[in-house]
Amino acid sequence: MKAFRMHTGLVAPLDRANVDTDQIIPKEFLKRIERTGFGEFLFYDWRRRPDRTLDPDFVLNQPRYQGASILLTDRNFGCGSSREHAPWALDDFGFRAIIAPSFADIFANNCVKNGLLTVVLPEAQVATIMKRSQEVEGYRATVDLEQRQVRDDFGLTASFEIDDFSRRCLLEGLDDIGLTLQHEAEIAAYEARRFGAR
């Protein structure tokens, strides 16, 4: 897994609550059997009109947000389907971190597994960053996982919480299957205790 320590980048504001994974990556793109190449389908039905041309009004299509690597959005982001294609698409599109007041559980888990950091900040701080990202052209922020902080050049220093294990996995880019396999003896002992000798 890709490590995440600190990232500074352009912030794109997606000012909507309850963005579900069907919007992040519509079902017609879930039939691919690879992990890569999902970026062009990110927010497909919002980015593209029915005739498949880009909708210039959608935030990610606006010139000023091209190259954005931090997505800022409203509460309950990533609700609905468990499809990991959603973080794959966000990652492939170029996002490294997502900031919101809350995330759906499965989506947040899936992000950690892909080195994509989900940052939970209080609504007031999200609103502040939202305003700046809409008003200040080229607005950038820094997401610092070591310090557990989001900072900008306008005096913002916002602390966030993240469980120690997820933080460590992200900082070190750990393969957590490998970590679990280090406990092979305990797993085998559990199975023997519960199911008898095999």
Binding site: P26, K31, D45, N76, S82, N114, T180, R194
Partner: protein, 485 residues
């Protein structure tokens, strides 16, 4: 296939001093170890696998040279992509065909039994698990699908996972898991006539919101929940995820045991008696505390219809499309305005005046025999409105056979419904069953998200009876006034 699921812990833990919830009992029994600085490792008893969220997981195993640790605890089928035309054929989508073929190859390579499209046991993974008796009280069950919460209806701890976690479970039969919080949703009183399990869960989501249970495992309790059949409990637990819950559960009781007895993978003979004795202990202790409690009066519930683009946007069928101007916050007002624009609905419109183009009866929420019986009871002796195209998709081939044995297919066909083979179908439209842009659908599925059933399609979630009645009337109608024939 020999699923080995239900062997008891041979060394029983001494009974703990503090009272525990149903969730805590199952959780504790499945903690393999608690490595310092890491979340507890939770053992997974049953892993359900389907074609859409697994190919990349198998690729990961191959790349790392890992095997599937417990093939006999892994149950695999195809459901999301399969056509529902007779024999599930032809598969006209080459990319879907490639994904199903990949699953076949993976099952062969890793030694897994696959219930393929030609299997008499094929069906939606959340329908066949319980049907085969693989879903049992006290188990931990995961699947790369958010509606895995369905299986909690049996008093199992069942939750959806992503593809990386699918790979993790395939390789280790364990998952590192942070312990979720607990929430009790108690439904007092009994459900009024015409109010189904679907209406109950839509009412719950309408009350607590689509993130009302985020971070929590919900246990449904109370008289109304005890009064539900297993199918009804599955419908309620199925949609727990639509309230953000990690899982939904109902403590097992006689209804559970009677439903499970005799199924293929259920314990037999002395093992059955022993299992039931153990399962009787799977309930929250009287003094157990939940992190959060919500109480709902069953008498306050009605047949519901969603009006917007998430399952929390719901009103009784006798109600009207709400006016965004009355929303509690600017954010909610914006969301409601956007939803109404997408749904092409004006505030104040009576729900019963909304016409539908399509009706879908199916999905892991409402495609079991009881659901089809309820819909057929409404359809009997009536005709589908000529402006409506209506589809009935049984949840599994076994449900289909059982329904045909009872003549339900004849009732549906005579009324003008299409009768299909099993699969996820129009719940998410990964197969050819999709809405066209602008089409409005009364659907027994679980998500009314934008584009869920087809780009530009407009979904209204309802119960099977309400869907059947909408097919016949051509618009939503209050099932409590239905002319049953």
């Amino acid at each position: 296939m020999a699923l080995e699921l239900q062997k008891p812990l041979q060394e029983r833990a001494p009974s703990p001093a503090s009272p525990r919830t149903l969730f805590e009992k199952i959780w504790q029994e499945h903690v393999v170890c608690e490595p310092p600085g890491q979340p507890p490792l939770l053992y997974v008893d049953l892993h359900l696998v389907h074609e859409v969220t697994s190919p990349q997981a198998f690729d990961g195993l191959r790349a790392a040279g890992r095997r599937v640790r417990q093939p006999q605890r892994t149950l695999v089928t195809v459901d999301h992509n399969v056509p529902t035309t007779p024999g599930h054929l032809p598969i006209t989508d080459p990319i879907a065909a490639r994904q199903m073929e990949a699953l076949r190859r993976n099952c062969q390579e890793f030694g897994l039994t696959l219930y393929d499209i030609d299997s008499p046991d094929q069906g939606i993974v959340h329908v066949i698990g319980p049907e085969l008796g693989a879903t049992q009280p006290g188990l931990t069950i995961v699947c790369g699908d958010s509606h895995t919460s369905t299986h909690g209806a049996f008093g199992a701890l069942a939750f959806g996972i992503g593809t990386s976690e699918v790979e993790h479970v395939l390789a280790t039969q364990c998952l590192p898991q942070q312990k979720p919080r607990t929430m009790e949703i108690r439904i007092n009183g009994s459900l009024p006539e015409g109010v189904s399990a679907k209406d109950l869960v839509l009412g719950i989501i309408g009350t607590i919101g689509t993130d009302g249970a985020t971070g929590h495992v919900v246990e449904y309790t109370g008289e109304a929940v005890r009064g539900l059949s297993m199918e009804g409990r599955m419908t309620v637990c199925n949609m727990s995820i639509e309230a953000g819950a990690r899982a939904g559960m109902v403590a097992p009781d006689e209804v559970t045991f009677n439903h499970l007895r005799g199924r293929r993978f259920a314990p037999k003979d002395a093992a059955w008696d022993e299992a039931v004795a153990r399962w009787r202990g799977l309930k929250s202790d009287a003094a157990a505390r939940y992190d959060k409690v919500v109480e709902i009066d069953a008498a306050s519930l009605a047949p519901f219809v969603t009006w917007g683009t998430n399952p929390g946007m719901v009103v009784p069928v006798t109600g009207r499309v709400p006016d965004p101007a009355t929303a509690r916050s600017a954010a909610e007002r914006g969301a409601a305005e956007r939803a109404l624009e997408y749904m092409a609905l004006a505030p104040g419109t009576a729900i019963e005046e909304i016409n539908v183009d399509r009706v879908f009866i199916g999905s892991c929420t409402n495609s079991r025999l009881e659901d089809l019986r309820a819909a057929a009871r409404v359809a009997r002796g009536h005709k589908v409105n000529p402006k409506v195209r209506a589809l009935v998709v049984p949840g599994s081939q076994a449900v289909k056979r059982d329904a045909e044995r009872e003549g339900l297919d004849q009732i549906f066909r005579a009324a003008g419904f299409e009768w299909r083979d099993s699969g996820c179908s129009m719940c998410l439209g990964m197969n050819p069953d999709v809405l066209q842009p602008g089409e409005r659908c009364a659907s027994t599925s679980n998500r009314n998200f934008e584009g869920r059933q087809g780009r530009g399609g407009r979904t209204h979630l309802v119960s099977p009876m309400m869907a059947a009645a909408a097919a016949i009337e051509g618009h939503f109608t209050d099932i409590r006034r239905w002319r049953f024939q």
